[in-house]
């Protein structure tokens, strides 16, 4: 149709690769294991009564140094889903930006949304494209969560660097502090009938634990008023948990721990 348009399908990513290869994010031509790039650390997701919660700390590190204190790692992708990123921040943020356009592009061309499963598949495809760079040290580890309107509940997908896609039942955490956050969630997570407040408190506790054990995870920076990002997806859309509510959950958690 227009000059330079050869691709005729509904994928923005495939269109870029065919018609504008110069604009495809490309990181695979360097050995990244020898360079320090900013890394995002702990992100987590858990299913609760109304949908799904996703949270992440705000610190990015370059080796043993702080790269950014207030980076965002949890992103709204569309009205029904979120992506959280851990690993090399640059390519991960670029991937989220591309993924966002990918979903919007499909929706506009086809006149309908992709299913939750379909979105997870597209993301896995994009991670696979990054495999050459991942093999050279530039690992991108997203966590994908959202509200599945077909199954009427919140859902979580985790991925590995090969694009492998695994549906997680109830909760998951990834990144350098992911293991600590998971251990914490394991103790506090009761079941998916969790209420909103309990889900927020549980995730705040997990981030506090991750920040406690992992030097790369930021936690609550009270002096600078930098708090983790926490977002919820329910049937009616995405909602960001206000800072005041997070701070209240943090204070409650700390008080309970002091009393123990």
């Amino acid at each position: 149709m227009f000059k330079g348009q050869n691709y005729g399908g509904s994928s923005f990513f495939e269109m870029l690769r065919l018609d504008h290869p110069e604009s495809v994010p490309e990181f695979s031509n360097l050995d990244w294991s020898t360079v320090q790039v900013p890394h995002g650390t702990t992100v987590l997701a858990l299913v609760y009564q109304d949908g799904v919660l996703m949270a992440g700390d705000r610190l990015a590190t370059e080796g043993y140094q702080v790269a950014t204190r207030d980076i965002e790692k949890v992103f709204k992708v569309d009205d029904d889903c979120l992506v959280a990123i851990a690993g090399a921040a640059g390519p991960a943020i670029e991937m989220v930006r591309l993924f966002r356009v990918e979903l919007e592009h499909y929706q506009k061309l086809e006149g309908q949304q992709l299913t939750f499963e379909g979105k997870a598949n597209r993301l896995s495809h994009m991670i696979r494209q990054n495999l050459p760079a991942a093999m050279q040290g530039l690992v991108v580890m997203p966590l994908f969560a959202g509200y599945d309107h077909q199954k009427n509940r919140g859902r979580i997908y985790k991925f590995d660097i090969t694009g492998g896609r695994y549906a997680e039942a109830d909760y998951y955490a990834t990144g350098s502090g992911g293991k600590d956050a998971r251990s914490s969630l394991k103790k506090t997570f009761v079941d998916t009938a969790f209420e909103r407040d309990a889900a927020i408190i549980s995730s705040v506790g997990a981030l506090v634990d991750a920040a406690d054990e992992d030097r790369g995870t930021g936690g609550f920076d009270i002096n600078r008023s930098i708090y983790p990002t926490c977002m919820l997806v329910t049937e009616s859309g995405v909602e960001e948990v206000p800072e005041s509510e997070l701070l209240a959950a943090y204070e409650l958690t700390m008080r309970q721990r002091q009393e123990r």
């Binding site: 149709m1 348009q5 591309l98 506009k108």
Partner: protein
């Protein structure tokens, strides 16, 4: 070797234009107008899945009359153009003016070079952030482009429809009033149905009260409530 018949360029252009106009006149027209919160686009359309009005980008809507497969392909090309531009630069860099120019160049080229011209007419509507900022670009089958503000119509009887809109339109009208005026204009088309209701109306808005992607399609229920 047989000598081909000589056809003068004037004759050829006339024939092609007549052919395209006939095709477009078979379709039903579309009107667009400004209302208090943005832009309203309306068309008569009995299909609930094959759309005439759709979203192109954050603040840009696309509407086409004529042959469905032709304007559908133009719609898709437009979305690819906008999404690539927005990804490569910034979402605010995508403007209806550039999109309309692309359509004009493409349709002009097809009209001149191809045997069969496209039997379509396109309307690209854009709502700017400020109060006075609506713009309609009308692109004809031969690439002719015109810009309108406040209201516009495309399709076979567009000139008559614009007259109706000019008489009825006022600044700051409500959505209900806007829909009434749009229906009044659509009902004047030569091939209009006797009754326009939620069963055969397709209505969409660009609403400046929203953020980001501001295109909204009105559901049958909402349309029924507006025309009651």
């Amino acid at each position: 070797m047989a000598v081909p018949y000589y056809v003068s360029p004037e004759q050829m252009y006339q024939d092609k234009a007549e052919y395209a106009r006939k095709g477009i006149a078979r379709g039903k027209p579309i009107v667009g107008l400004e209302y208090e919160h943005g832009i309203l686009l309306a068309a008569e359309n009995t299909s609930t899945s094959l759309r005439k009005i759709s979203e192109a980008y954050d603040r840009i809507a696309f509407a086409g009359v004529g042959k469905f497969d032709e304007y559908e392909n133009l719609r898709k090309a437009g979305i690819r153009y906008c999404d690539f531009k927005g990804y490569n630069y910034c979402r605010d860099d995508v403007a209806a003016k550039n999109l309309a120019n692309e359509y004009s160049t493409l349709l002009g080229g097809i009209f001149t070079r191809e045997m069969k011209p496209f039997e379509v007419e396109i309307l690209v509507a854009e709502l700017d952030g400020d109060e006075q900022g609506s713009c309609f670009y009308q692109i004809m089958f031969d690439g002719f482009i015109a810009d309108h503000s406040r209201f516009a119509a495309i399709g076979g009887d567009s000139e008559d429809l614009v007259k109706v809109l000019r008489d009825a339109w006022k600044s700051g009208i409500s959505l209900r009033e806007g829909v009434r005026i749009a229906c009044g204009a659509l009902g004047r088309a030569a091939n209009a149905s006797a009754k326009l209701d939620q069963e055969n109306l397709e209505i969409a808005t660009l609403d400046r009260r929203l953020d980001g992607r501001i295109f909204r399609r009105l559901e049958a229920e909402a349309i029924r409530a507006l025309i009651e």
